[in-house]
């Protein structure tokens, strides 16, 4: 009685569950048969349309037809809806293929067991096996499906948009169809003069902003934390509380207020400067000064976070290190450079990278404070302080250039993910879990 495994495998490949029935596992077999039956019914009516949909993205747009002087809506293909529906069907199809493969493997394995003289499991034994040995997998099955359809599916959909011409004014469904255009959107963004000029300009500022805002808040926070921790500083709790306040106020409120504070003509800041006989600065209206302003305001918002973090680290530095340094006759500065700084950097490097990645997409700081302004006549729909992410917002919500926005989103993701990974792998705390020497 050899060759059970091949027979069972082939039978299961022909129709799910046949191999299991051949292996005398009737209940499991029937369940597989039921799954395949449902799948066949579902795919017969949907799969062909899904393939048609994902390749053509619809063929006839909606239009109005006049019947006896009354216009009637004749619904046609809505490319974007078709894209999503096809995507869902195809995902189901992939899931089905996985189940189909598992069923073949299952039949084959049980067949192999039988060849070795072990009888097939009964249904209760199978259940127990799943609950005991495969508990994690079976327990994660439902959340996994949820993630697939509510997280992964939308991401795939959004990535797909970058390869279509889904943009105002000529390709907005339902009256118009959307088509695949391959890499044309990326080419326009990176090469075509009218877009690339804006893209590189905004990208450059995004990088500058990310570096400056991260560095200023981190070292600012470190400075404040060290100051408060000095011996001889009294009311430590009060200083801490005062410095944490900016972080506690919702940015929505504080940044919108800042907008008025920094108004070049009527803002209190320039009024005070005028009071001392100084000319005010064009805080928000000059491209250069607007950039300075957002960095400064971001320091005000971001320093408390770094301060808290670094204060926590400071408490973990062993006292005896400082004592040893003092015995060796180290100055205060040397103590900071040789003991404190490396310890802080070692513990906070991963957080620093997180902050950097977060700052690349710091939507709030820019959108609420300047809205990307001052306007820049050389840019397409972007202002001088727009980051890629706020520009993306404008392109999508104000201009309906969805494919462009999607392409920018993909590029942003590649930048952030690539940078974070590369740096994270190089940090000491990732490479060696033990203490630095």
């Amino acid at each position: 009685m050899q060759r059970h495994k091949t027979r069972a495998g082939i039978l299961s490949a022909i129709f799910m569950g046949f191999g299991q029935i051949y292996n005398r596992q009737f209940i499991k077999g029937l369940m597989f048969i039921a799954v395949e039956a449902v799948a066949i019914i579902y795919f017969i009516s949907n799969l062909a349309r899904a393939f048609w949909g994902i390749t053509t993205l619809g063929e006839s747009p909606s239009r109005l037809e006049k019947v006896k002087g009354i216009a009637k809506m004749v619904p046609g293909d809505h490319s974007i809806v078709i894209l999503i529906e096809s995507l869902i069907t195809l995902l189901f199809f992939v899931l089905f293929l996985i189940v189909w493969y598992m069923n073949i493997r299952d039949a084959y394995k049980i067949g192999a067991e039988r060849e070795n003289g072990r009888p097939s499991h009964t249904f209760t034994q199978s259940l127990r096996y799943i609950l005991d040995y495969k508990f994690a997998q079976s327990f994660l099955l439902l959340p996994g499906l949820g993630i697939l359809f509510f997280t992964i599916m939308p991401i795939i959909f959004m990535i797909m948009l970058a390869f279509t011409n889904y943009a105002a004014p000529n390709h907005i469904p339902p009256a118009k169809l959307v088509d695949w255009v391959g890499f044309e959107t990326f080419r326009n963004l990176l090469v075509l003069k009218s877009w690339s000029h804006t893209f590189y300009g905004v990208l450059t500022w995004t990088i500058i902003w990310a570096v400056l805002s991260t560095v200023t808040t981190y070292f600012g926070g470190m400075l404040v934390a060290l100051l408060i921790n000095q011996k001889g500083i009294r009311f430590k709790g009060m200083w801490r509380m005062l410095l944490i306040i900016p972080y506690a106020i919702p940015q929505m409120i504080s940044l919108l207020l800042m907008r008025n504070l920094f108004n070049g003509q009527f803002g209190p800041i320039n009024q005070y400067l005028g009071f001392f006989g100084l000319d005010g600065l064009p805080w928000l209206t000059d491209p250069f000064w607007a950039k300075v302003t957002v960095i400064v305001v971001n320091m005000w918002v971001g320093i408390p976070v770094s301060m808290l973090l670094i204060m926590g680290v400071l408490t973990t530095i062993p006292r005896d290190m400082y004592e040893a340094a003092e015995v060796d006759g180290a100055t205060n500065y040397q103590k900071f450079r040789i003991v404190t700084l490396p310890m802080i950097l070692f513990s906070t490097a991963p957080t620093l990278i997180m902050q950097f990645a977060g700052n690349i997409n710091n939507f709030n700081a820019i959108f609420l404070l300047t809205g990307g302004n001052p306007v820049n006549g050389n840019y397409q729909y972007a202002g001088s302080t727009d980051l890629l992410v706020t520009w993306l917002y404008k392109l999508t919500l104000d201009q309906n250039k969805n494919n462009m926005a999607s392409a920018i989103g993909i590029i942003l993701f590649i930048i952030v993910a690539g940078f974070s990974l590369y740096n994270y792998r190089r940090t000491k705390s990732f490479q060696e879990e033990d203490m630095i020497q």
Partner: protein, 444 residues
């Protein structure tokens, strides 16, 4: 697949019903209500010559059985929508639900939600968004009430409600801007911008933040007079030719040169002027004149009382200033389940009485000819001043390319105002950008 069939069947059925409804008398509550349909509408169609032979006459249309409507209305004007919906429900027995969506956002929301059947049946939009929605076939044309709408409303509002030769909208209010002034500071309203400069020289004091005049100098909407009055234009002569852009022609540059002259009396960066600051300065008497729209009226009246005056925008280069006007229009969602009820609502809510109600509650300028002659309007110095200015206004173009204009021009104006850029060079750049965008910047 099945859904499609169902749609076709419903479409066919509703067609059949609407045709049969003309002749037969099915016993629906709606029909009973329709029998006491307003006599005025019947006479109005007679006056209009009951033009189209094949469309059913307006008086005979009845809401679908079991119809209920959802409408979108702005937060500020919700009061009006509630009032009108109450009257509509009483008259036609159709329940109406109101959802708050700001008019400029409605087309965007309709684009997203319309095809999936989640949008409102009747929406209110500024007419410059009409092209975007109509070219995407999101709206049903105003066909049944077309003759009546055209006969009853002003020319400009009909132009604003039409796209590509087809009437879509049911106009409800005209909106333009005029010169608000503080009578205690300005003896009489200036006739020309030269007068404005002359007065402001005596009043403006940058150190004390006092200015003779202030308006949003970086926003094309308010600065259109400096383009159009002296012969500039946006898209051809009637706002429909996307390839004929006259923003940088000789006339426009002439007007913008006048615009740049005003910097002398308003020495502020364009980015520092925002509506909130302007409002507070005007209310406190530190700004003597403000060019803005009727949405500020209620607040200014409260702050200044009888010191408030409104005059037409001053002349530019000796010519009467031409402002931009926006028409607020009702339109019907093409995906509505109850097209008849929706059309009835849009028509009802844009009629003479409804426009007068809107004026009473909000202070809007009607587009209905009879409403404009009503003592309620002519007796109100503020509203009639806006109505006067509206006569010298051009409706914003409503072609979809209108969306490509704002951003480049709103970048060119600050360049002229803040950085003393040459108007010609700045506008050339803006026009080039608009053309790029119109041509999809890449055949997009």
């Amino acid at each position: 697949m099945d859904l499609k069939k169902l749609m076709v069947i419903t479409a066919a059925c509703s067609m059949a019903i609407s045709i049969s409804a003309c002749g037969s008398n099915n016993n629906t509550g709606g029909n009973a209500a329709a029998t006491n349909a307003p006599a005025e509408s019947a006479t109005a169609t007679d006056n209009a010559g009951a033009g189209s032979d094949n469309a059913p006459a307006a008086g005979e249309i009845v809401p679908e059985e079991g119809a209920s409507l959802v409408i979108w209305e702005s937060k500020e004007e919700r009061q009006f929508a509630e009032e009108i919906s109450k009257q509509f429900t009483a008259k036609y027995n159709v329940p109406v639900k109101i959802e708050e969506v700001a008019p400029p956002d409605q087309v965007g929301k309709l684009t997203q939600d319309g095809p999936s059947g989640l949008a409102a049946d009747v929406i209110v939009i500024p007419h410059d968004n009409l092209g975007k929605a109509a070219s995407a076939s999101l709206l049903l044309p105003n066909d049944i009430f077309a003759e009546q709408t055209k006969a009853e409303n002003t020319e400009a509002s009909i132009v604003g409600s039409s796209y590509d030769g087809e009437l879509y909208g049911y106009p409800r209010a005209a909106e333009t801007y005029a010169l608000f002034y503080n009578k205690s500071l300005v003896k009489e309203a200036p006739k020309s911008f030269d007068d404005v400069i002359a007065f402001s020289k005596t009043f403006t004091d940058k150190a004390k933040n006092r200015y003779g005049i202030m308006w949003e100098v970086g926003n094309m909407y308010f600065n259109y007079p400096f383009i159009a009055t002296t012969g500039g234009y946006l898209f051809g002569k009637d706002g429909t030719d996307k390839d004929d852009i006259g923003l940088n022609n000789e006339g426009a540059i002439k007007g913008l040169t006048e615009f740049a002259k005003l910097k002398e009396v308003l020495p502020i960066k364009s980015g520092d002027i925002n509506p909130d600051i302007k409002r507070s300065l005007f209310n406190s008497g530190d700004v003597a004149m403000d060019i803005t729209g009727p949405w500020e009226l209620a607040g200014y009246k409260e702050a200044l009382g009888d010191k408030l005056g409104i005059a037409p925008v001053p002349t530019i280069d000796g010519k009467t200033a031409i402002t931009f006007s926006g028409i607020k229009i009702f339109t019907v969602n093409a995906y509505t389940q109850y097209p008849n009820a929706a059309k009835l609502y849009a028509h009802f809510a844009s009629g003479k009485d409804s426009q007068l109600t809107l004026n009473k509650l909000i202070g809007s300028v009607p587009t209905n000819n009879e409403a404009l002659k009503d003592p309620q309007i002519t007796g109100d110095p503020f509203v009639s001043a806006f109505a006067e200015q509206a006569k010298n206004s051009q409706p914003m173009p409503s072609i979809p390319e209108m969306g490509n204009v704002w951003s480049p021009v709103n970048a060119a104006l600050p360049a002229i105002w803040d950085n003393n850029a040459d108007p010609k060079a700045a506008m050339d750049k803006a026009v080039e950008q608009i053309k790029d965008l119109n041509n999809g910047a890449s055949a997009q």
